[in-house]
Amino acid sequence: MARRVSRRATFGPAFIAPYVIFLLLFGLVPAAYGVYNAFIVTPVVGDTYYSLTKNFEDVLGDYRLPSATANVAMYLAIWLPLLLIVVFGIALLIDSKRSRFAGFTRFIVYVPGAVTGSAAALLWLFMFSPTVSPISNLLKPLAGSNGLIISNQTLPFVLAVMGIAAGAGGWVVLLLGALSAIPKELIDAARVDAASTWQIIWHVKLPLLRRYAAFILIVSLANGFQVFVEPQVLGAGSIGQISSTWSVNQLVYAYASEEANFGRASALSVVLLAVTVVAAIIVIKKTNFYRVEGH
């Protein structure tokens, strides 16, 4: 028995070691360095000094931050609810009528998710460009006075469409897995009690999927707050239509690249991290995400 414990004690750390090493090297150490950097103030001329508040005051008082925050908030407000509705809608629909095409349907739903990040941004850049888009006639009513679709104002909608097209498929597959794990007896029992399909979804399936909703929300929130690649690529593609500091993370990038002010860049990153963590904590608390069954 004692020997077994010691073996387990060696194997456990050995198994997680690769993960821990990567977490340390590429996760925690850079994050800690970023936090440290946030307190280093680099004035344009003169000596570098340390301050607990200066960089934070500078970035929180930046005239670009309110609009960047509003842009990201708008994007999240459109994207997150839509994502949940679409993902749950499709998953429940596929699940309610299990046919022999289920596997194929699942694959079809997942395919758009294969195009992500900058590739997706490029793809949608063409989709939303009236002169080259295959659906340009459909888009015409949405164009601004300059004939273009993509602008600072329409970007939240564009990003929401992109985000759902790229992300929904993966989540649907995840939810289908969760749905198939619901004991058949539970559904049968509900049927025996004369529950309609709608009632089964509402009173049996959805409550059991609550934590999956939380998981989707947490992951999406973290990604959404830090949105960077899509507006950056769309901005580079539709020149002059999108502010170079449209999202908060782009503002971070502007500090680090054009102003070479790593202190400010780190300070705003820390603020962004804090916001993401707080949002995640709220979601976790509200959905009892970590509650263990039976406690």
Partner: protein, 428 residues
């Protein structure tokens, strides 16, 4: 989740301790005439460096191709400085505004070349001055993007229009075009083409840097309002386009032959118009029109690269020799893609432009005229991207309805951008 306050307290203590010790400004390193030099340049100019390296094996030149997109090079040098890595001896900046980042903390990269380079007099008037601050010259100009008036001579003749020599005539032309030939365009005013081409050429001060920390911003002057008087009506009647000249929707205008004329940088002909309007014998170049009340037809500037030598170079003489080769060697200039800043080099470069039958008339005189007249109010600042963003969000979006209030919004943001980037904003 429980957050320990100990790390924060420790950090605070450490910061108090460290605040006492301050780094000293390093003075230049000891010179070593045998030391090799490293050159960082974009994919075009790295060829120049490589050719130089091959022709001068004793100079021991290492040419490195680097990403030259906005901000990339400045941040790379800043990171290398922070990390204590080897810095290049010479850098090419295709985004010359980056020089404003390089002369500030934490980089403090450039060498004042005014004492070491005896060939600075050979460059087009005002091009060295653009990155001269407090008497120090921090760059050697490579090429310039002086603005000129491109016009479709064939269309002008068939419509019976005269080529404008003043911006009042430009305005009159735009108003006539809107009535008589709707759908025809007088070019793009988006972003830097509008800001640096129109407002910049008029002497409107939004980036007139005097030092790393001082900039003159005066956006209520006549030099700005007279541009509003021209731009506002032409935005309203649609003859000036709010699209970027490289937006597919704008290229379509050029392809369809509806671009009548445009105030554009010198490189716009071969790289912006020619690919979409390939037919020979249509396009000609005229000097910049003069703004109302101005005595000189100053040009704006869009683009134009610069060379910067590191103050930390251990072989300044070799670095200067290379930069002199890159900017003044006639063969190099002839092979360059855009208008050389070196006056003699430009003359040689223009030979092929003059011979190009795509032009309806020799563009050389107009290009030469504008080359020496880039407005002295145009400087390099750290907030140039923010200026362009703000310009697009104010004048470009709202200028057609109310140019004055749109420009006032721009003025507010320009001052905010300058202050946020660490500048003290001066009135004059």
């Amino acid at each position: 989740m429980k957050i320990s306050i100990y790390p924060i307290a420790a950090l605070a203590a450490a910061s108090l301790l460290l605040a006492g010790c301050t780094p000293t400004t390093p003075s230049g390193p000891v010179q070593d005439p045998a030391a090799g030099i490293t050159v960082w340049a974009d994919s075009v100019r790295v060829v120049t460096a490589q050719n130089y390296a091959d022709a001068n094996p004793d100079a021991n030149v290492t040419a490195v191709a680097v990403d030259d997109s906005q901000g990339a090079l400045a941040s790379r040098i800043a990171l290398a400085t922070n990390a204590g890595d080897e810095l290049p001896d010479v850098v090419f900046l295709g985004q010359p505004d980056s020089i404003a980042t390089l002369i500030a903390n934490p980089v403090n990269f450039p060498l004042d070349v005014s004492a070491d380079a005896d060939f600075l007099d050979g460059f087009a008037e005002g091009t060295v001055a653009r990155c001269s601050l407090n008497g120090a010259a921090y760059c050697v100009p490579n090429d310039i993007g002086q603005t000129v008036l491109y016009y479709n001579q064939t269309l002008f003749e068939s419509f019976g229009y005269e080529v404008p020599t003043t911006f009042d005539e430009w305005l009159a032309l735009g108003e006539a075009v809107a009535v008589d030939h709707p759908g025809f365009s007088l070019g793009s005013i988006s972003g830097r083409y509008g800001l640096d081409g129109y407002y910049g050429s008029s002497g409107c001060q939004y980036n007139d840097a005097k030092s790393a920390t001082d900039v003159v911003i005066n956006l209520t002057s006549d030099a700005c309002t007279r541009v509003n008087d021209v731009v506002g009506p032409l935005l309203a009647n649609g003859t000036l386009s709010t699209l970027d000249p490289f937006d597919p929707a704008f290229t379509q205008i050029v392809t369809e032959g509806r671009l009548l004329a445009t105030i554009s940088p010198s490189w716009m002909g071969p790289y912006g118009i020619k690919p979409s309007s390939v037919e020979e014998g249509n396009w000609a170049v005229a000097p910049m029109p003069t703004w109302a009340g101005a005595s000189t037809n100053y040009a704006g500037a869009v683009g134009g690269g610069i060379w910067v030598i590191s103050a930390q170079s251990r072989n300044i003489a070799a670095a200067v020799a290379f930069v002199q080769y890159a900017t003044t060697d006639t063969e190099v200039q002839i092979g360059g893609p855009t208008y050389p800043a070196d006056v003699a080099g430009a003359e040689a470069w223009l030979a092929s432009t003059t011979a190009d039958t795509w032009y309806a008339a020799d563009p050389a005189p107009a290009l030469i005229d504008a080359a020496g007249k880039i407005s002295p109010t145009l400087g390099f600042v750290r907030y140039q991207t923010q200026l362009i963003d703000s310009f697009n969000q104010t004048v470009i979006i709202n200028g057609a309805t109310d140019i004055s209030s749109a420009f006032a919004d721009f003025a507010t943001r320009a001052v905010q951008a300058a202050e946020q980037a660490g500048y003290t904003v001066l009135e004059q």
